[in-house]
């Protein structure tokens, strides 16, 4: 046996999940209680905004960060989730929670289908294909009267849902739970066989195939999971704002932030998108209330340029975590 101690290395196979979940639930509980103590409705509004991006950025990272397939169609998946929630509400009377489940299924299948059609493409060609998907979906929604077409659709939400003090508090809590689950899934994927396979694909797809990694199957799993979680990020959107139109649902801000946040935090790690989303989304909220919401993408653009130039491995790269 070599000098490297095998006993130490065996430990690498044992991933401890319990401390992570306890920590995540603890942090979520602390955030919720802190906002409840403050008791300001804007806190829930801003918190939802940040958490929505935690979910979206973590979802993007599964395909873009772990497997290296850059998806420009995040807004398309998010909007598909939002409109699924509207459709199932209108057709079956489903409320927010069942709507989220339906959105996960629909956008998961959409991700699988998109992956099947596009994953033979690499690099910029794949990215362009995902961008086209968002354009196709937006055209479809704009011309679909059932969901309001270009006029948009209203969701009349209740003022309160007992035992919560307000609907804002309720929907914030829903998004908080979704964020914890999404980050947990992203971390589990990262340390699992699936994650290792995706990382091998990112580093060298041909070599991965040669050593037995079923590259297409893993990429399809990643696109389905990524699509489902992006849909989950979008499903509460019509309930959050009470109104949804195609311009808001397919906003460029979603597509840009979904890429910028993992890159700034550190793509390819579960923590990177969380750090990037909390920093960038908080900054955008601050800019919105102090200067103008029109500045948001301008700010993101500059920060992205700065990071790509001076810290291409993101914030976590500074600490040697990746």
């Amino acid at each position: 046996m070599s000098a490297t101690t095998l006993t130490d290395l065996r430990g690498a196979d044992r991933i401890r999940h319990l401390p992570f979940w306890l920590g995540a639930v603890g942090v979520a509980l602390a955030v919720f209680l802190a906002l409840r103590l403050i008791g300001n409705e804007y806190g829930y509004y801003a918190g939802y905004f940040v958490l929505q991006y935690v979910v979206l950025a973590s979802a993007w990272n599964i395909l873009g960060g772990y497997a290296g397939y850059v998806n420009f169609g995040a807004a398309g998946f998010l909007a598909a989730g939002a409109y699924t929630a509207i459709v199932v509400r209108k057709a079956f009377g489903f409320d927010l929670i069942p709507g989220i489940f339906c959105a996960a299924v629909v956008t998961g299948l959409l991700g699988l289908g998109t992956g099947y059609l596009t994953l033979r493409l690499r690099g910029v060609y794949f990215s362009i294909a995902t961008l086209c998907l968002a354009v196709v979906l937006q055209t479809l929604v704009v011309n679909w009267d059932y969901v309001g077409g270009s006029r948009g659709a209203y969701v009349i939400r209740p003022m309160t849902i007992p035992p919560f003090a307000s609907y804002g508090e309720y929907i914030f809590l829903v998004m908080l739970v979704l964020a914890v689950i999404t980050v947990g899934i992203a971390r589990t994927v990262e340390v699992s066989r699936l994650g290792r396979g995706l990382q091998a694909i990112r580093d060298n797809e041909r070599a991965a195939e040669a050593v037995g990694v079923p590259t297409l199957r893993l990429k399809l799993m990643a696109t389905a999971l990524c699509g489902a979680l992006m849909g989950v990020a979008g499903a509460p959107l019509p309930y959050y704002s009470g109104y949804l139109n195609p311009d808001a649902a397919f906003s460029l801000a979603f597509a840009v932030n979904a890429i910028a946040m993992p890159l700034i935090g550190g793509a390819g790690t579960w923590a990177g998108p969380v750090i990037g989303a909390v920093l960038l989304a908080s900054l955008q909220q601050a800019a919105t209330v102090t200067i103008s919401s029109a500045l948001n993408l301008w700010i993101v653009g500059w920060i992205l340029v700065i990071f790509v130039t001076i810290a291409p491995r993101g914030i976590l790269g500074w600490f040697g975590k990746r």
Partner: protein, 237 residues
């Protein structure tokens, strides 16, 4: 000894260019085959057809009696066909150990991936560097890492595609010794190589490709003495 690999009338075209023409090959279990030929003669195209990197246009390939046609490279790898590349292609963001764990995770040995990966690294004398990144390895160590990753598949057939390109004489000897050791453990090996010293030291059978065709097949000493082989390498007198 039984036939491990059988290729019948394998052909490959790139547009109008015929890269391989009706190549036949029967390889016995445990054999050490050297595959030589000038640049562009079709050696790599042939092994790429066998490994599944290229889909051949004509012919049949079987491994241990099982047809490989239509199978993806990863499916062929899991059936015991391993290969290395002309340029080392490590997974750069993963440690040396993780590089070798990857094939084990996907070949039904996930539960014992780490100890098995360490065994493979020890076989190529990379055990002490298990936690380093591939970029921290020397050229010959990266070649050994490629071989460790291939060994992890417990291959029946190993294709070493110019595994010694760019190495010093001492390093070439090191890799040849390693390949001989693997062959001694029962692995059938095809070595594609331009370094004749390595080929003659390793191969017990030699095949020569020229312009997509097999022009010679036999014992190395006899094959290298053939006029056609000399003409192919040095030009016609």
């Amino acid at each position: 000894m039984s036939i491990l690999l059988k290729a019948e009338r394998v052909g490959k075209r790139f547009g109008g260019f015929v890269a391989l023409q009706e190549v036949d090959l029967e390889l016995r279990t445990g054999e050490r085959l050297g595959l030589i030929g000038p640049n562009g003669s079709g050696k790599s195209t042939f092994v790429n057809c066998i490994s599944g990197d290229f889909a051949q246009h004509d012919g049949q390939v079987t491994l241990a009696g099982q047809p490989l046609n239509g199978l993806k490279p990863n499916e062929r790898a899991r059936r015991g066909l391993a290969r290395t590349f002309q340029l080392p292609q490590p997974f750069n963001s993963l440690s040396v150990l993780e590089n070798v764990r990857i094939p084990l995770l996907f070949s039904g040995a996930a539960a014992e991936a780490t100890p098995r990966a360490m065994e493979c690294l020890d076989q190529v004398e990379l055990g002490p560097k298990a936690l380093k990144l591939p970029r921290e390895l020397t050229q010959v160590e990266q070649r050994r890492l490629e071989l460790a990753r291939a060994i992890a598949l417990r291959p029946q057939l190993l294709i070493a595609d110019e595994a010694m390109a760019g190495l010093s004489n001492a390093e070439v000897d090191e890799i040849v010794a390693l390949l001989l050791r693997l062959n001694g453990q029962g692995v059938t090996i095809i070595m594609i190589e331009h370094i004749m010293r390595a080929v003659t030291a390793f191969a017990e059978r030699l095949i020569v490709f020229v312009a997509g065709r097999k022009i010679a097949d036999g014992v190395p000493r006899e094959v290298l003495a053939l006029r056609e082989v000399e003409d192919a390498y040095l030009g016609k007198q």
